[in-house]
Symmetry: C2
Subunit: 492 residues, 2 copies
């Protein structure tokens, strides 16, 4: 006989590393993404929404040695094909640019906003699903396309509420770095491994400083824990040249360009790279995106191996307090560059492309730190229920308020305990509660309770102030909309 | 020796059943969802964004007999847990309502918009990823919550552009159907299988008519292909009562309610159901949502088994032409109802809930059919490149246009072939092209080419008209923004 097993209840939990976003969090992000989309739209970029699911083959993360794709993505087998959730918005763009190359306008300017998924170990503030927000131009070989991305990035930051002076778009060029390596006798095209190692090393400049980078480029370095990190094995003269490149920023763009020309002397790739930087700088300056908003900065590296030309990064230059109350620079909120080889994977033909990705969560955090998101998500006016039989009257009140564009709702829980209704209003961050009992209804009036003022008074007011500034007052029923509009205006 | 294998290129393809959405498609959907969110916000609903990935356990689709979850979802094993892409927005809401029951306001009004995934066989117009847009109230037992959903649905349809008279929110109640079954001696609580079979059968009313439903409820029916469909096995008198219920709609709400009372006579469940319908009707009427917008209609069934009380459906009542040019009713674009048992799966305690889901693709199709989406996604003004060295000037022009809020871009492809630039403008649906060569620059003028007018003239104009209405004209460089604004206004 089968055992009489009590069915186990499912656990109400998100999978490990995933989370839910509530109310204001969603509203604030949508608000910001909407503003970004406005700027991208003005610049002629078209939205593209690819599906969350791609073939593993198209994403290009398949490891041939195992029967399961790379652990970095969420993947599964479906009718013999391996499918996966996209891990960024660039790989799907490359697939689209190849798949629809005969139908899309050329150049193709597109923007994309949406979640991506990473099958990585979650940590504090690190989730396995998060938003990306990208803009790219595919098919434009000219550096005018790179300059456009930089000016658009600048406009975007100002549009969402980062004032000029609080950010800087810093620009470098991979070709200059390759030129530096060429100038010292390496060939980055043939020795990609060394070029990548140099890239990874100079990306640590902020952390280990010039001396640390010099040690890591040459014979190696003992880190703080005492562990020894192997060096890249370059000679001292070569390491000096690389460091000279990173520190080539001069007093102005012309001085920087001049220093860079010296560092890459003798390398055709390097010369091309410096020319491109000069052109980007000139285009931006001519449009008014001068040194208060953009700058050539040879210390910008951008980790990704796939960049082939100009790279850029938007840095917020104001300070915020860290968890321990110490001021620190906010840092990078967006980055990108030119990648001319991604579409080639599919078609065999190189297609020039350049683009930028905004760190949605970081930029949101910055806007919150600057108080730019205050009031995006105001709670509704709550019409309380004193008398269950008068529900139609209460519904009529919220109807009038909504018609006037005021967010409003009737309390729909059990109305017996009035205190619960006010607690609910509190949880909803309601600015105003409306109260109409039998007595008020008979006299044609309602009570309006200013919950924002009420909270302030409860916090700090003396008895005198309490009396002179009553948070609750009686108004004619006919004045409901006008009075509440006035109260909201005072608070907004 | 290893063979020298040429690496195979990946296929640039979406997985089977998935698709990409471009430009206007994305813009139109976002525009509509933004308007819907405005109405939901006004009603006090808060956005909720859950992750795309849930545990299979929380979704509740796991079949215990197989080592792989239900084929209806995309699922995979991760560190011993089965994860899956959500197949709707209601299951994640039930999980959230259980997981955060101590923190959320009660009642909890939330809306959610986003993609869901179904591992089903794709077909024409049927994709494995599509949008849903839901609003639900969790924790409100009163039918005032159901009435609110109906009035909000009505407001939403008008907000997105379906005029009053072109839609109807039809309301029924599962309790009335259960009452009908009770009235004829069945017990739906004990014989769920029969109740479900009746539900599925009467859902076919539109297809097979009253006689067909009668046959299917009793002894069975031969369909058009000659195949015999087994009947539910009810007696004739029972079938008559069910049909009387479905056809109980009277000349007005009062008449419908009176008919329903007769049909469910003797059933307490049925009586409660009719009372609820009467209350919903009264609340809606008091708020002005009368018979021109809402109606009690006993023929509304809504397939899903989990509804426990009021059910509703928004139908568009205007005709559109089908693929063969025949007029047909547009039909249902949204539906929902009360489901009091979904959260119970997790907590063991019944939690009242009611909500609505809008068919995003169907509503979009309706708005496109009504011409409501025209002009949402206008192409950019294209500044052509006649002289590569004047790129900064061209960039200055688009900068001025954008500052005036006009979507504009410089052509960034290879500028050698001017015809290609105009073809590009055509593909972008550009309203205006700007042309400035060396000669124009020297004289301080630019050429503006009205591409919309140009297309019209090319289609239909006589030589006389061509001459009197030139699509291309010369204007002072300083008038660029003002002139283009004028041209766009004429076309908008």
């Amino acid at each position: 006989m089968a055992k009489d097993k009590k069915p186990r209840r499912p656990k109400a939990e998100t999978p490990k590393g995933f989370r839910d976003y509530f109310g204001a969090e969603v509203a604030e992000r949508n608000h910001m993404l909407g503003q970004i989309a406005e700027v991208y739209h003005l610049y002629g970029y078209d939205p593209l929404e690819t599906s969350a699911v791609e073939t593993v083959e198209a994403l290009g993360k398949f490891l041939p040695d195992v029967d399961r794709p790379n652990e970095g993505v969420f993947a599964w087998e479906e009718d013999g094909d391996w499918l996966a959730l996209r891990y960024d918005l660039t790989a799907p763009l490359a697939r689209v640019a190849a798949q629809f190359r005969n139908d899309l306008p050329n150049p193709y300017r597109r923007y994309a906003m949406g979640p991506v998924w990473r099958n990585e170990k979650p940590g504090p503030g690190r989730y396995r699903q998060f938003y990306q927000c990208d803009a790219d131009t595919v098919g434009a070989p000219s550096v005018a396309a790179d300059a456009e991305i930089c000016s658009m990035l600048s406009d975007t930051l100002e549009r969402v509420g980062i004032p000029r002076g609080d950010y800087l778009v810093r620009i470098n060029n991979r070709k200059v770095l390759n030129g530096v390596l060429e100038a010292v006798g390496l060939n980055p095209a043939e020795d990609q491994a060394t070029a990548d190692a140099v890239l990874r090393t100079i990306d640590k400049f902020d952390k280990v400083g010039a001396d640390g980078v010099r040690q890591l480029l040459t014979t190696g370095r003992k880190d703080q824990s005492g562990a020894f990190i192997d060096g890249v094995g370059l000679g001292d003269a070569v390491a000096d040249t690389v460091l000279a490149f990173m520190q080539a920023k001069g007093a102005d763009a012309a001085a920087t360009i001049a220093s860079l020309r010296e560092v890459v002397a003798g390398s055709p790739t390097g010369a091309t790279g410096v020319d491109e930087l000069e052109q980007i700088g000139a285009l931006l300056a001519a449009q008014g995106y001068g040194p208060d908003r953009t700058e050539i900065d040879p210390s910008v590296v951008r980790g990704l191996g796939y960049y082939t030309g100009p790279v850029f990064e938007a840095e917020l230059t104001f300070e915020i307090m860290d968890a321990k109350g110490r001021p620190q620079q906010f840092g990078s909120v967006a980055g990108g560059g030119r990648y001319d080889d991604l579409v080639k994977r599919f078609t065999g033909q190189a297609v020039p492309a350049t683009g930028v990705s905004i760190g949605v969560d970081r930029l949101l955090a910055a806007l919150r730190a600057k108080g730019r998101m205050d009031g995006i998500a105001q709670g509704p006016v709550i019409v309380t229920v004193m008398d269950r039989n008068r529900m139609a009257d209460y519904q009529a009140m919220v109807g009038e308020l909504r018609n006037a564009g005021i967010r409003a709702e009737v309390y729909l829980g059990n109305p017996k305990n009035f205190g619960n209704q006010l607690k609910y209003a509190d949880k909803r961050l309601s600015p105003v509660a409306v109260i109409e009992g039998e007595d008020e209804a008979a006299r044609g009036v309602v009570q309006v309770k200013d919950l924002v003022l009420g909270a302030k008074i409860a916090e700090s007011a003396s008895l005198e102030e309490w009396k002179s500034q009553p948070a609750q007052r009686e108004i004619p029923r006919g004045d409901l909309v006008a009075e509440i509009r006035k109260m909201l205006r005072q608070e907004g």
